[in-house]
Each structure stands twice: as structure tokens, then as C-alpha cells.
């Protein structure tokens, strides 16, 4: 099977690009800690309200951890609890969320906080809120007739 010289050049170039892309995201994920949200913890989806930390949704200051705050959300068709929250600018926050019923999305528009919420699983993402402003949380996975009415708000404010 004969491969044309130019095709070899093209394939070498193309495959090199792919290797570079993979290396960049691989190093970023596994050495710099930018893995996509992949929390492995589970929860009984029928006992969310009784289970820590979901018994107290909202923003909580924490001590002695790598992050300053934990921001806890409980999702259900068609709302998030809490519906509005203020986060101090520059705070390192672990967002922790789960759903009580069907699959929901959890996307803070305009940020990298974008994760699936699945019944029985806890989703987590840690990041530093370093840009002030009002951010919309939207459900970006279809969850029923009120899917487009399911949202919450985060205000990142200087304190």
C-alpha cells in the first residue's frame, strides 16, 4: 500500500497536533489539577435532605481545608436550592451539588463550572471566583416541562 509523500507530511503534522492537544489537556488535568468534575461519592437520592452537607444548602465558610468555602446546592425539578447566593471575590470555593429526582445540569454560565447532576451521585468542582459579577446557573440537561425555568444566581462581590 503506497502512501503519497505529501499525505505522510500531512498525517505527521495532523497527528502531532493531536498529540500536542492531548499533552496540553493531560498535563493540565493530571498535574495542574484541572480534571473535569468526576466526583466518585454516592448518596441515597431519596434521603438528600437528611444527608450532610445537603441538609444545609448554601455557602459555608470552612476551616483547615484547601478551599475557603463550600457552596452546597440541591437540585430538583425545576429549581435549585439556594436560589441566590453571594460569593466574595477571590474566594476559593468547592461547589457541591446533587439532585433529588431526575438528571439535571449545573452550569454557571460564562465559567468552567459545568457538571452533570445525577441521582445517587454527588458532583463537585473547586475553583476560585476571581471575576466579579452576576452569574446565572442554568440547568443544561433536559429535566421536564419546566426545564428552561430552572435557574439560580450567584453574585460574586467585593467584600
Amino acid at each position: 500500500m503506497h502512501i503519497h509523500k505529501f499525505e505522510k507530511i500531512w498525517l505527521i503534522f495532523g497527528i502531532s497536533c493531536l498529540v500536542i492537544f492531548l499533552s496540553v489537556v493531560g498535563v493540565s488535568a493530571f498535574y495542574l489539577g484541572n480534571k473535569p468534575p468526576s466526583c466518585l461519592a454516592t448518596i441515597n437520592p431519596e434521603k438528600v435532605d437528611e444527608t450532610k452537607p445537603f441538609n444545609k444548602p448554601g455557602l459555608h465558610k470552612v476551616e483547615g481545608k484547601e478551599w475557603d468555602y463550600e457552596l452546597v446546592y440541591v437540585a430538583q425539578a425545576f429549581s435549585y436550592n439556594p436560589a441566590q447566593v453571594e460569593v466574595p471575590l477571590g474566594a476559593k470555593v468547592k461547589v457541591i451539588a446533587t439532585t433529588k429526582d431526575v438528571i439535571h445540569g449545573f452550569e454557571v454560565a460564562g465559567t468552567n463550572i459545568n457538571m452533570m447532576l445525577e441521582p445517587g451521585y454527588i458532583s463537585e468542582y473547586t475553583t476560585t471566583f476571581d471575576k466579579a459579577g452576576e452569574y446565572l446557573i442554568v440547568c443544561n440537561e433536559y429535566c421536564g416541562s419546566g426545564h428552561h425555568l430552572m435557574f439560580s444566581k450567584i453574585e460574586v462581590v467585593e467584600k
Binding site: 503506497h2 503519497h4 509523500k5 505529501f6 507530511i9 500531512w10 503534522f13 495532523g14 497536533c17 492537544f21 496540553v24 489537556v25 460564562g110 465559567t111 468552567n112 463550572i113 475553583t127 476560585t128 471566583f129 476571581d130 471575576k131
Partner: protein, 49 residues
Amino acid sequence: MAKAELKANQKTEVEDSSSLKGTLASVFFVGLFIVVTWVSVYYLFVDRF
């Protein structure tokens, strides 16, 4: 047998240098488009929190 192969090789080499320059340019345009798209979205990822 060996002779025939030699001939075939010569023929492809002539083609190699002359007739597919536009193809090479075109695929590199495709490659460039892919790289620019990827880098732009990667920039968004790095820029956002």
C-alpha cells in the same frame, strides 16, 4: 518483478513532486483551522474560572 517495482516507484516520485501541491496547501488550511479553533476555546477555558 524487481524491475517492474522500480518503474512504479519512479512513476510515483514524479507525481509526488508535481501534482498534489494544491492538496497539501488545502489540508494545511484545514489543519490551521483546527489549531486556531482549538487554541481559541482552550484560551476561554484558561481565562474562565
